[in-house]
Symmetry: C2
Subunit: 131 residues, 2 copies
């Protein structure tokens, strides 16, 4: 499995991640989401009512980019397949919420559910355009 | 045609743009590139030897995201089709280079050519997660 190089591992502490998925028409869509690094990989909590979850269930191919907020030329891209696991009890969502000081349960509507998305890396690009 | 709202038009002056394209396997790939705003839209100069040009020629569906370097929660996403025009004489590449104080001709190898990519917007998402 591809590994995140030491040079870019600090980006796992960043605040947001940009997730590119493929929509039903085969077109790319990109959204920015909260994430939490666990076991050296970014993991995302998604409300299953969201279009990006439907996209990933149909086509798990995705790309996650994390940009250095202090250096617009430095970023990390992880390409791979999304592995989607249920998070019905908000176990992961609560850990994610702690990173942001937020109550993820309060963000969701009644009856909505959560999943954890982990990207299994096929290719990792650690980029520093200025370096 | 979708328009960039006034609230996010300042992002057209940002330094980089993240371009999501679809590779031959139907998977998303994201790269960060220089761009120049002309006629209210971001335009990109690409060396035709690059994989993203081949991706766009095969499938023009793409997504361009511009992140506010000072606010990780604020970004603009433009989804649409890439229109690819030749830039054999580097007319656009020279204007782009002026934005960055760079000589784009010196970046390219002998015999390489450039195109200008303009995204014809089908949908624009002006996002402020914090707002």
């Amino acid at each position: 499995m591809a590994e995140i190089p030491e040079s870019h591992r600090d980006l796992l502490d960043a605040q947001t991640l940009s997730l590119a998925t493929i929509d039903p028409a085969g077109r790319p869509q990109v959204t920015t989401v909260w994430f939490l690094a666990e076991n050296g990989l970014p993991r995302i909590s998604l409300n299953t009512a969201r279009k990006k979850v439907r996209n990933l269930r149909r086509n798990p191919a995705c790309s996650a980019s994390i940009f250095d907020p202090n250096n617009a030329y430095r970023y990390l891209e992880i390409r791979g397949d999304a592995e989607i696991e249920p998070d019905d009890d908000y176990a992961f969502a609560d850990r994610l919420g702690a990173k942001y000081g937020a109550d993820v349960r309060a963000i969701d509507g009644p009856g909505e559910t959560r999943v954890v998305v982990t990207i299994r890396p096929m290719r990792i690009n650690a980029v520093n355009l200025g370096g």
